[in-house]
C-alpha cells in the first residue's frame, strides 16, 4: 500500500505540504530552544569554573532584580576605594585587579552575561581576569595604551578581526595584540580587554566597576572574604560560591522561561499536527468506505493511514532539523544539537502524527462501508 500512500500524498500536494511545514516548524523551534537552553547551561558552568579562588567586590545593587547580576557591570567603585581594596592584606596581587566592565553586546538569554564585554584592567594584571586561558594568536599582555586583547567569540564572530588589525571602540582605534583560544566561558570568549586607563577614557568613567580579588590558595578564600566584608561593610563580596548561586538562579529563571516556551510550543505543535491530520483523514471517510466496499480490510486502511502519517512526520522532521541547523548557525555561529534532543523531537512528533491519523482512520474503518460511502 506504500505506493498508494505516496500517490495520495502527491495528489494532495497542498495539504501534504502544509502538514509537513507545520511539523517542520515545530521540530525546528523545539530543537533551537532546547539547544539554546543546554548551551546556556554549559556557558554558565564554564564561567563559574573559571572563578577558582576568586571573588568580586562590588557596590550593593540598587534594584532588587540586579542582585543576580553577573558579572557586576552596574556596580561602581571610586578609584580610591579600588586602591584600598587592592591593599587588603592576604591577597595574591598579581591575580587581583580593579575592573571597569562595559557590556558591548547584549546577553543571548534573559538576565545572562553579555555576549561581548569591554574590560578595563591595569597592565600586568590581565591574568586576574582570564586566568590560565591559552592564546590562539598574539600574546596575553597589554603593553601599549592602545592595545586590546580579545576573546575568541569577540574576535572571530563579533568583530571579525585578527591580531594586528585595528579595532574601533567608541571612536578610539585600538590594536589587537592577542586573541584567546575558545574556553566555553562567556566571560573570556566575549572579552575586549584594554588597559584600565584607556577604558576609563573611552567610556568617560573615572572609577571602576568592581575589584576582583584572589586568595593565595583556595582554603583562604573564605577568610579573605570575611576580612573584606569586615573592613568594607558598605560593599558586597561575591565569592565563587555566591557567583555559582547567582548563575544557578539566573539559569533556573531562564530555564523556567525557556521551559514554558518549549512546553507551549510542543503543545501547539501537537495540537496543530493533530488537527491537520485529523481533518485530512476525516474527510477521507468516503474514500475508506469505497475501499472497504471493494474488499480492503480494516487493517489495510489503517496501514495506509499509518504509512502516510509516518512519511509526513519523518519528512517534516528532516526538514525541521535542517532549518534548525541553519537558524542555529545564524544565532550561535555554529550548528549543533544533541542526538538525544533530535531523537526526542522526532519520536514525539511521529507519535502525535500517528495517533492523529490512526484515531479517525480507526473510527471511519469501523463504520459500515455503506455508511462511509454515503458520508459527506
Amino acid at each position: 500500500m506504500l505506493d498508494i500512500a505516496f500517490k495520495n500524498m502527491w495528489q494532495r500536494k497542498t495539504r501534504t505540504g502544509l502538514t509537513v511545514v507545520a511539523i517542520s516548524v515545530c521540530i525546528m523551534l523545539f530543537l533551537v530552544l532546547s539547544t539554546a537552553t543546554s548551551s546556556m547551561d554549559r556557558m554558565f558552568t564554564d564561567s563559574k569554573d573559571l572563578l577558582n579562588g576568586q571573588m568580586y567586590v562590588k557596590t550593593p545593587s540598587t534594584q532588587a532584580g540586579n542582585a543576580l547580576e553577573f558579572p557586576p557591570v552596574s556596580s561602581s567603585l571610586t578609584a580610591e576605594k579600588a586602591s584600598q581594596l587592592m591593599n587588603v592584606s592576604g591577597i595574591d596581587p598579581a591575580r587581583s585587579a580593579p575592573l571597569l566592565l562595559v557590556p558591548q553586546a547584549p546577553s543571548l538569554f534573559q538576565s545572562g552575561p553579555p555576549q561581548v564585554i569591554a574590560v578595563g584592567i591595569p597592565e600586568g594584571h590581565e591574568k586576574a581576569y582570564y586566568s590560565d586561558t591559552a592564546f590562539e594568536t598574539g600574546k596575553g599582555t597589554l603593553n601599549g595604551k592602545n592595545d586590546v586583547i580579545l576573546g575568541s567569540y569577540a574576535a572571530n564572530t563579533y568583530y571579525k578581526v585578527r591580531v594586528g588589525d585595528t579595532l574601533n571602540l567608541q571612536n578610539r582605534n585600538l590594536t589587537v595584540v592577542g586573541i584567546a583560544k575558545p574556553t566555553g566561558s562567556i566571560l573570556v570568549d566575549g572579552m575586549v580587554l584594554t588597559p584600565l586607563s584607556t577604558a576609563q577614557e573611552i567610556f568617560s568613567r573615572p572609577g571602576v566597576s568592581t575589584v576582583i580579588l584572589t586568595a593565595p590558595s583556595d582554603d583562604q578564600v573564605d577568610s579573605l572574604a570575611a576580612s573584606v566584608r569586615g573592613q568594607f561593610p558598605e560593599l558586597e563580596v561575591m565569592t565563587q560560591k555566591d557567583v555559582g548561586e547567582t548563575l544557578n538562579s539566573m539559569a533556573s529563571m531562564t530555564h523556567t522561561f525557556m521551559g514554558m516556551i518549549d512546553l507551549t510550543m510542543l503543545v501547539v505543535a501537537g495540537v496543530v499536527t493533530l488537527m491537520v491530520m485529523f481533518m485530512s483523514v476525516s474527510e477521507r471517510t468516503k474514500e475508506f468506505g469505497m475501499l472497504r466496499a471493494i474488499g480492503a480490510s480494516r487493517s489495510k486502511i489503517l496501514t495506509l493511514v499509518l504509512e502516510e502519517s509516518v512519511i509526513v512526520c519523518l519528512l517534516g522532521s528532516i526538514i525541521g532539523i535542517l532549518i534548525s541547523f541553519i537558524v542555529m548557525k545564524l544565532m550561535f555561529g555554529a550548528a549543533f544539537a544533541s542526538v538525544d534532543v533530535i531523537f526526542r523531537a522526532v519520536i514525539f512528533m511521529t507519535l502525535i502524527g500517528i495517533a492523529a491519523g490512526l484515531i479517525p482512520a480507526y473510527k471511519s474503518s469501523k463504520i459500515q462501508p455503506l455508511e462511509a460511502i454515503r458520508y459527506e
Binding site: 469505497m290 472497504r292 474488499g295 489495510k300
Partner: protein, 236 residues
C-alpha cells in the same frame, strides 16, 4: 496476501443458484420512529442470469442490493452468496466475500481520484490477491473498451468512461456476481445505453448481474424483473 490465479473472462454456467435471500428484513430507527425498509424478502438468482430490481424511490430496492452485497447488515433473515451463508459472518470474513465474490458498480462510480484507470483496477486485483495484477487490470479495461484511456485519472474521463472503469474494477476479480446500483443514473441516455451494452455482453459471456434501477426501459433489457414496493416483492 494469498495469490489466486483467475482469468478475467467470465465462466459459463447455468442453473446453479448464486444468490439467495430468505425472509430478509431490515429496519432503521429514525429518532423515535422505526422504519421498516425491507419486510421479508425472498429472492433466488441463478448463475448466468441478468436480473433487474425496480421500484419507486424509497421502496427498498437499494437496501436489498446493499444487504445481498454485504455492504450493510440485515435485521433478520439470511443471505447466501455462492452457497455460503453470509448473514452472520464476522467483519473480516465479510471483507473476504466483498473482495473476491462480489463486484460492485455504483451510481457515482467511486473511483480513487488520485489513481489512473489502470491503477484503480489494479488496486482491486491486488486487494483480491490476484497474480499479475497489472496485466489482469489491463485485460479488464480492454474488455470494457478502455485500452486507450488506461493512464488517465478519473477527472480526465467522461462519466461513461469512469463507469466503465468501475465495471472493469468489478470484473477484474472474476466475481460470482456483479451488483449494480443505478449504474446509468449519472449518465446521459446514450452513455447509459453504452453501459447497458457492456452489461449485456458480459452477461452473454456468463456473468451474473443484478441491477437496481428505476428506469423501466433499462429493466426491459434484462432477463428478469423483480419489482419491489414498500419493502416487499410485488406479486410474491
Amino acid at each position: 496476501m494469498s495469490e489466486r490465479q483467475v482469468t478475467v473472462t467470465v465462466e459459463k454456467a447455468g442453473g446453479q443458484i448464486v444468490l439467495e435471500a430468505r425472509n430478509l428484513k431490515k429496519s432503521y430507527r429514525m429518532g423515535k420512529v422505526t422504519v421498516e425498509a425491507l419486510r421479508g424478502i425472498d429472492i433466488s438468482i441463478s448463475r448466468g442470469e441478468f436480473v433487474s430490481i425496480i421500484g419507486p424511490s424509497g421502496s427498498g430496492k437499494s437496501t436489498l442490493l446493499n444487504l445481498v452485497g454485504c455492504l450493510d447488515s440485515s435485521t433478520s433473515g439470511q443471505v447466501l452468496v455462492d452457497g455460503q451463508d453470509v448473514s452472520r459472518l464476522k467483519e473480516a470474513a465479510l471483507t473476504g466475500v466483498r473482495c473476491r465474490k462480489i463486484g460492485y458498480v455504483f451510481q457515482k462510480f467511486y473511483l480513487l481520484p488520485f489513481l489512473t484507470a489502470l491503477e484503480n483496477v489494479e488496486l482491486q486485483s491486488r486487494l483480491a490477491g490476484i497474480k499479475d495484477s497489472r496485466a489482469k487490470a489491463a485485460e479488464a479495461l480492454r474488455l470494457v473498451g478502455l485500452e486507450d484511456r488506461m493512464n488517465h485519472r478519473p477527472a480526465e474521463m467522461s462519466g461513461g468512461e469512469q463507469q466503465r472503469v468501475a465495471i472493469a474494477r468489478a470484473l477484474v476479480k472474476a466475481p460470482a456476481l456483479l451488483l449494480a446500483d443505478e449504474p446509468t443514473g449519472n449518465l446521459d441516455t446514450k452513455t447509459g445505453d453504452l453501459i447497458m451494452d457492456v452489461f449485456r455482453r458480459l452477461n452473454k459471456e456468463g456473468l451474473t448481474i443484478v441491477m437496481v434501477t428505476h428506469n423501466h426501459e433499462l429493466a426491459a433489457q434484462t432477463g428478469r424483473i423483480i419489482k419491489v414496493r414498500d419493502g416487499l416483492i410485488e406479486g410474491a
